[in-house]
Amino acid sequence: MRRCLFSLLLTGVWTLLSAAPRPDSSLQRLSEDPFWLLLGHYQHDSSGRWYSHVNDKRFFLAEQGAKDPYAELLATLEGLYKPMTLGDKHPQCVYPARTHWLRNHLKLDDLPALPCDNYRQWYHTIDPHSAAMVFPAAFLNSPSSIFGHTLLRIDPSGMKDSGSALLSYSLSFGANIDDADNSLLYAWKGLMGGYPGLFVIQPYYEKIAEYSRLENRDLWEYPLDLTPDETARMIEHVWELQDTRFDYFFFDENCAYRLLELLEVARPGISLTGPFSLTAIPTDTIRAVRDADMMAGVKYRPSRERELMTRIKPLNHDEQQWVSKLAEDEHYLQDPAFLALPVERRALIQDGAYRFIRYKVTSKERDADAARRSYSLLQAINRDSPPPLEIQRPERPESGHKSRTFEFGVGSREDRAYAEYGLRMAYHDLVDNLKGFPLGAQIEMFRAALRQYEDNHWQLQRFDLVNIRSLAPRGELLKPLSWQVTGGLQRAPGDGDDEVLVAHVSGGAGFSRQWSDNLLGFAFATARVEHNPDFGAFLGPAMGFDTGLLWRNTFGNMLLEADSDYFHNGEIRRRIHLTQQLELTDELGLRLSAKREFSKFSEPISELQLSLRWYFF
């Protein structure tokens, strides 16, 4: 409303100032067309004024362009008629999407016709025809990747014929990171918007290599139902954004958000970015695209690691030993014992060995010895080819529970009853509803719980800044490290009070073992630093262990866990707990947990809690 008044006022002033009546009010209205606002990435600020997400003066033609869509429109309109001698620097060549739109809307039939060689050539190379949204799924040993990343794949016109995505281009938005920054600074600046974000186009096969080979992440490809015209409109706008810096925020104005904006440019009138005011987690954005009926299918591209695991899974222990031996030394191909195996089994073993070598060397410099072994195995594979690898498609990641969780629990601690109210901004723990997530991966951020005891005593029960656990099982061939890290505030037994609020940072490393698809065990050595008001020293260090069993059963996940911290000052804190989730619906779970704590400060304490978990956004 305020905006309307303001623009009316402005138009009025303008009319007064200009001698001859000009159709400026219509231009003014045009500058508030949603599509023009999209092209400039304009948003309202809290007081109703316009500002652009683009943090780059070069993107605007008008001096006040970043804050004034109307001024920018007038400047663009003027720019379109600049002398043709400007060549590729002419606004028509720099802003093809603006040009296209203004020409259509204002019937600018007298525009000078520029060749725009650079743009044409670029456009021709990409040859946009259709598009897909691509989601690299979580990689188990990198739980932070559970957030994932989304990108667009731009497919050329020949794709229908070739059926191959290897000739497509990827379009992604990412932070431009300063080489000199260390990881901590990196994470901080990433969160706080300290890095500029840029769009990048590169061949899609490079993205496949990056995700599927280097990071071992499955790729989910969702073809979109964009028409060639819609795809073209989007790419025209991408050209306008070349080298344009956006503020990059990890949580909201991130890759996923920017891609949704592009899709809004492709199909004017749809609204995809609306709900993402605070966080845009990539799976949520995939849901947004699905809910807007833009999704035309799904294709699953397993990672190289998953292919390797699937290939060697049906092999018995001895056969897996052969995989390991062949990968070490190709001369075993001629070993009489190996040749005595049935030819179909040999084909599987050879393929497994080849994949195993490639897996191990994929991130290394070329090594002549590994190349020789690989080549020998390829020749053997060429003689006895294995059957094509069939990998069953897992649950689609967007079918998993939503990313924010509300928790309401009731429980008792010894003889005191309490209610607990919890909120978690993201995302998933080991026991949460599993559909669409890998077993044994946990990432939680900003989780807080308030507890209300029966005497109406309220207290902050916990606040986790971050809580990550990665249970990557070791097998015959692959022996990854499992690890966990967490930090925040929590309650611990203390002197006189059995629940002292302490601040801590803890971490652990160890190994996991998977006995079946549904049963995982782990053991960690842990270290902890705690600030506890009941400790003499400001910081109390501790060493300990943490071990447990994670069982996927008919009702949901169950976790049985025991851990212990041996503090430098003599305190010994031990804990055993059992948690079972009952998966009620996709977005609702019931959780029963029982815990017993031991400490030098107090008698053993038991706690029992039943809580309802609602995954709501």
Binding site: N118, Q121, W122, T125, N141, S142, S144, S145, F147, G148, H149, S162, G163, S164, A165, L166, L167, G174, A175, N176, I177, D179, D181, N182, S183, Y186, A187, G190, L191, Y195, L198, V200, I201, Q202, P203, Y205, E206, E210, L214, E215, L241, Q242, D243, F250, C255, V361, T362, S363, E365, R366, A371, S374, Y375, S376, L378, Q379, I381, N382, S385, P388
Partner: protein
Amino acid sequence: MRRILLGSLLAAASLNAFAEAPGGPDCGWGNMLFKGQRGLPSHIVASTTNGSSGNATSGMTTGTNGCRTDGALTYGGKPMLLVGNMMDELSEDMAKGEGEALTTYAVVLGVKPEDRAHFISVTHDHFSQIFSSADVTAEQVLDATFSVMKGDERLARYVADQA
């Protein structure tokens, strides 16, 4: 600290004509089999802030791993780019006689849909001739592919206009 991200969206490379290998000197002509993917990104870093981690994004907008696409990219052209950049995938597919890289190879060589299965089977049979050693280069693979195709009745017509 590794360089993380990003080739930027550069408009175009120079338009000068060069008297050198088509596509420029870094176009992957000398790429060897099993070159692999160098430069493992740090998982934590790369995935927490969604920073991409390109290892060969050196400018070119429609970056083709160091190849210029502006100049005359005649000999080899797209097949060359494909072999240079996806040689590992291609060798594996050809050894097995199936796969996306091999199908794409047929497509960029101009092989018509009705002849693609035949192309795949012929190249599978001649794997050791096309990938003649562990140290074979992209250029050699492409040459060998042409000569295998020339020797095949149905595929010869696709290489008639090649060098």
